[in-house]
Symmetry: C2
Subunit: 352 residues, 2 copies
C-alpha cells in the first residue's frame, strides 16, 4: 500500500507538504496541491479516515442516535435502522449506531465535539428534547425521526399520528364498536414528553369525540404484565368495552393473554388493533393482529437522504415530512358480538 512518503517522492514535494494538503493546517498553492492530489490518485493512496477527515472536514460517517433500553429494538424500529443503513451505503457513507442519549447528555456532548460524525439522525424524540439543543449548539447537521414540539427550525420525518389514529378508530366504529379503549405507553413515558404517546393521545381524543364517543385511555407499562394490568383497569372503567386500540407493542401480548384468561375470544368478544406495527410483529399473535402498519424502512431511508442533502446544501434547508401508517385488516377485528343497548345505541347525546 502506498505511503505518504511514496506520494511525496512522486509529487516531488516534502512529506510535510503532503501532510498540509491532507490536514489543511497550512495554505498550499493550487499548483502544488494538484501535484500532490495527482500523485495520490496515481498511487491509489488511501489516507486513513482520520487524515481524510482532517482534509475534507468530512468523516463520511453518519450516526443514528438510538437510545436502547431493556425493551429491545423490535422488528418495527429495526426497519428504520435497516432502511437508514441501506440509504447511507447508497450515498457513500458509513452509518454507525450509537446507543448514547437518553439521560446522558455529557456523552452526547463529547460525541458531538469529537467531529467524528458528519451528521446525525435522532430517534425516540421527545416534545422537548435536550439532545436537539446539544447537537444544534455543536453545529452537527441533524434530522429527526420524530418531532419536537416546536419544529420550525428542524428537519424531520415522522409518522402522521393524527391520520393513523383517525383511520384506526374509523375502522372500529365502522364495524359497530362504541366502547373503544386506547392503551398507550406508560404514565412515565407520557410524563417524559415522548411525542408519539402524546400525539396519539390527543388524536384519539379528537377522533372519538368526533364520532360522539367517550375517549377512554389507559397508560400501560411496556411489558406483558403492563398489558394485563391495563386491560384489567380498562374493564374496571368500562365493563362493556368491545375494542382495544394499542400503541404499546409489548403490552399488547399481555392484553391478549388477559383476554384469554377471562374467557374472552378475539375478535368475537373483543377486537384488537395494534398501532404502528410491522407485519412481523402483527403475525406473532393468534389470531394475527389487524394493525396500522408502520412505514418502516422508508422512515430511515428518507431521514438519511434528507441528512446527506443537508451536508451539501444551504444552511437553511429544511425537510419536513409525515408518513401515514396503513390499515391492514387481519384476524383480530370483527363486528362486536356483545351488542347491548348501551353500546349499540346512538353514540351519545352530543354525537346524535
Amino acid at each position: 500500500m502506498a505511503t505518504m512518503h511514496d506520494v511525496a517522492r512522486l509529487a516531488q514535494v516534502s512529506v510535510s507538504t503532503v501532510s498540509y494538503v491532507l490536514t489543511g493546517t497550512r495554505p498550499i498553492s493550487q499548483a502544488t496541491r494538484n501535484k500532490v492530489l495527482a500523485a495520490m490518485a496515481q498511487l491509489d493512496y488511501q489516507p486513513n479516515a482520520m487524515a481524510r477527515g482532517l482534509a475534507s472536514r468530512r468523516s463520511r460517517i453518519l450516526g443514528l442516535l438510538m437510545p436502547m433500553d431493556e425493551r429491545g429494538l423490535g422488528a418495527t424500529e429495526t426497519a428504520f435502522v435497516t432502511g437508514a443503513a441501506a440509504a447511507a451505503s447508497v450515498a457513500g457513507y458509513h452509518l454507525v449506531l450509537s446507543p448514547v442519549g437518553g439521560g446522558n447528555l455529557d456523552d452526547l456532548r463529547r460525541l458531538a465535539s469529537q467531529r467524528m460524525l458528519d451528521g446525525v439522525v435522532l430517534m425516540e424524540v421527545q416534545l422537548d428534547d435536550e439532545r436537539v439543543t446539544v447537537l444544534q449548539e455543536a453545529g452537527v447537521p441533524l434530522v429527526l425521526i420524530g418531532r419536537t414540539g416546536d419544529t420550525s427550525a428542524l428537519s424531520y420525518v415522522d409518522i402522521d399520528f393524527d391520520q393513523t389514529v383517525h383511520e384506526a378508530v374509523a375502522h372500529l366504529v365502522a364495524l359497530g364498536h362504541r366502547r373503544i379503549v386506547y392503551v398507550n405507553h406508560s404514565a412515565a413515558t407520557l410524563a417524559s414528553g415522548y411525542g408519539p404517546a402524546l400525539r396519539t393521545r390527543d388524536a384519539f381524543t379528537a377522533a372519538m369525540t368526533g364520532h360522539g364517543l367517550e375517549p377512554l385511555m389507559i397508560a400501560a407499562e411496556d411489558s406483558a404484565a403492563g398489558g394485563r394490568a391495563a386491560l384489567a383497569a380498562a374493564f374496571a372503567k368500562a365493563p362493556d368495552l368491545t375494542a382495544v386500540l394499542a400503541m404499546n407493542e409489548t403490552a399488547i401480548f399481555g392484553i391478549l393473554g388477559e383476554l384469554t384468561g377471562r374467557g374472552l375470544a378475539v375478535p368475537d368478544d373483543v377486537s384488537v388493533v395494534s398501532m404502528v406495527t410491522s407485519p412481523q410483529v402483527a403475525e406473532l399473535a393468534t389470531p394475527a393482529l389487524t394493525a396500522m402498519t408502520s412505514p418502516g424502512s422508508a422512515l430511515g431511508r428518507i431521514a438519511i437522504e434528507a441528512l446527506t442533502r443537508h451536508l451539501d446544501g444551504p444552511a437553511d434547508l429544511r425537510h419536513q415530512q409525515l408518513l401515514p401508517c396503513t390499515l391492514e385488516v387481519r384476524g383480530s377485528t370483527a363486528a362486536p358480538r356483545r351488542l347491548t343497548l348501551a353500546t349499540a345505541g346512538p353514540p351519545s347525546k352530543d354525537g346524535g
Copy 2:
C-alpha cells in the same frame, strides 16, 4: 475554544510543529513535544477526534458489528448491546454499532481499513466466518460474541450451548416427557453454518441419545408462520409428542398459536421450553414460557472488557469464556397428560 495557532503561540513553536506532534508524521524532540503538550493542557485545547486519532493511533471508538435483518433485534440480543455500551463507557470508549456484515465483505474491508475503530466485537458468528479473516488481515483487535469452528487463535465469549441444551432436556425428561421435538432455526441458517444452530443441534442429539430417546429436530423459518409449519411437521413425524424445545424465539409464537388452533393446551397437552431467551420475551406468552435464560448483558460486558484488555495487552493475549443459560421454570412446562404406552414405557431398547 483554543486553536492550533493559540497552542503554537504559547509553546513558541510553529503551527507545523504542533501539527507534527498531533499527527506523528515527523519526529519531534521530546523537549519540544513536552512544550507543545503543556501548552495544549494549559489552553484546554481539544484537538478533534481525527487529529487525536492520528496522534495516539487511537480513536477511543469501539465497534459492535451486528448484522441486522428483518427479524429485528429482540430483547435478548439487545441485552448484549446495552451490556457492551455500558462497559465501553466505563472504560472511556465510545461504542458504535455497525449493521455492516452479512454478505457485504467489501463494506467491512473499507471500515477496517479506515482505522476508525480501535477494536471490534463481532456478533452472529458462523462456524466458518469470512468476517473474522477480513478483520484479522486488517489487524483490527477482535473479540467474538459466539465462536467459529476453530477458535485456537481467537478471543470470544459465548453461551455454553452443550450445558444449556442438556439442562433443558433433563428438565423435560424429569417431568416424564419422552417424545421431545427440537425446533431449530431454518434449514438455510443451518446450511450457512450459524454456530448456535449447529451446536444446539449436536447437543440435542447427544442429550436425547444419552437418555435413550430419539432426537427429533425440525428446522423452522424465523417467523410465526415458520413456527406453525414446524409444529405441523413435528406432529406428522411424531403424533405422540408431548414437549417442544425451541431455539427459535420468533417461531415459538407460531408454535403456541398452532397448538391453540389444534385445541391443545400448554402445558397440559404439550410443554414448551424456549432456549436462550430473555425474561421479557418469555413473559410475552400466555402462559409465560419456561426458558433457558440468556446471560444477557454479561455477554456484551465481558466481550468489551476483553477487547479493551487486548488494546493494552500483549499481542498473544486470549480470552475464551463460555456462560451457561439458567433454567427458569414458568407456566409452560408440566408433566405430560397424554401418557401412552409408547411415550411412558421404558425409553428404548438401547436406553434400558
